[in-house]
Symmetry: C2
Subunit: 226 residues, 2 copies
């Protein structure tokens, strides 16, 4: 049975795995989960689809797996995933892992929190956070993007050096997301701007396809009624 | 040159890597970093020791690597790390990765935040958070521990089933840390209590040795002056 990818393009790691699978030529069945319906929170879903109840996840025959990074590593072992996406060379792979692990409590946490507080929560509930809180979150976000430039964008056009890898897709899909909250990292960090353009151009048309929802939401202004 | 481990046992991932190396019989040189002196925040440190400026990290000859999970994966490829600590079997390895990746924004985030707000910040600065904030953080922490029991402690005495792995050490060192903030998960989650006892007993004496600082701090009560 063909690999099944369960995803919602509203979710960042869903977008990154979707782009990777489109670029890798691994055949897969698209199984869209609409997070907005909250179907993933039911007991039946936990029992039959995913105990962790988040997207993305895969079913590979009877084998079920959550977590985008675990999925990429699994695909690199079990499928003909081109070495450039997740290197087999031990030192290069360690450097890919170093970024992917650092990312969780840095870019992932800061970008997702800013997106949630400034866009997602007000958009879906009408509840706005204070200006002070948003200012503080923005400071954290910018400190983190500065670290990202200093630590990870000084080796060449891509995070691992001269060649694009999954690591770039994973980071880029996270950083693109804050555009919905009226924050485009391109406008503030020149190295990030060039790098994002490189990643997009290497991954298109899959990149733009995965970002259709994000691009639509970017045009919506969420602000309190006067 | 022998593998060098840079660590501070006040840091959770330092404790988990320290325990693993002690149990694995991989020879290593102990290089203690005292985070309290803030030496890791200097430019010289970033240039010569670790660009990421956090612990733990390793130097393996000229190769420098941060992030505990990246380090474990590197050791499993480059050193004679017993298969039980980080399985080579593809499906088992995927399940180890699934937990390790899930952990960052769940157990790691909630335990470390509770520890920081309820213990670390008041202890080092005298600044206390409001009761409401601590109550909210405790709710998040307990929701997360409940998920941990449901999702990951239902396969046997250890996270991956019948045998201990690095995954257990990684989670246990995180959960032990909230004892400094007067919260022992053993008292609230029976499955976690049994599992923690199993992990400790499989890893001792290295487990207790790594927790000396945490155990000392647990006896200190941090509360505002009357």
């Amino acid at each position: 049975m063909v690999l099944q990818l369960y995803y919602d393009l509203y979710s960042q790691p869903s977008r990154s795995i979707y782009i990777l699978l489109k670029l890798s030529n691994i055949p897969f069945k698209k199984c869209v989960i609409d997070l907005a319906t909250r179907e993933h929170l039911t007991r039946e879903f936990a029992e039959t689809k995913s105990k962790i109840q988040r997207v993305p996840f895969i079913h590979d025959g009877d084998f079920k797996l959550n977590e985008s990074i675990a999925i990429v590593r699994y695909l690199s072992r079990e499928y003909a995933l081109d070495d450039k996406w997740y290197p087999k060379d031990s030192a290069k792979q360690a450097k890919a892992d170093e970024f992917l692990e650092w990312n969780h409590l840095n870019i992932r946490l800061e970008c997702a929190t800013y997106f949630l507080v400034k866009f997602h929560i007000p958009f879906f509930t009408g509840k706005f956070s204070s200006k002070e809180r948003i200012k503080k979150l923005l400071r954290n976000l910018e400190r983190c993007l500065k670290d990202f430039e200093r630590i990870f964008l000084s080796n060449g056009p891509f995070i691992l050096g001269d060649q694009i890898s999954y690591v770039d897709i994973h980071a880029a899909t996270e950083i693109e997301q804050t555009r919905t909250a009226c924050y485009d990292a391109r406008d503030h960090f020149p190295k990030i701007r060039i790098w994002l353009d490189n990643v997009r151009s290497e991954c298109n048309p899959a990149y733009d396809e995965a970002h259709v929802i994000i691009n639509e939401l970017t045009s919506i202004e969420v602000k309190p009624k006067l």
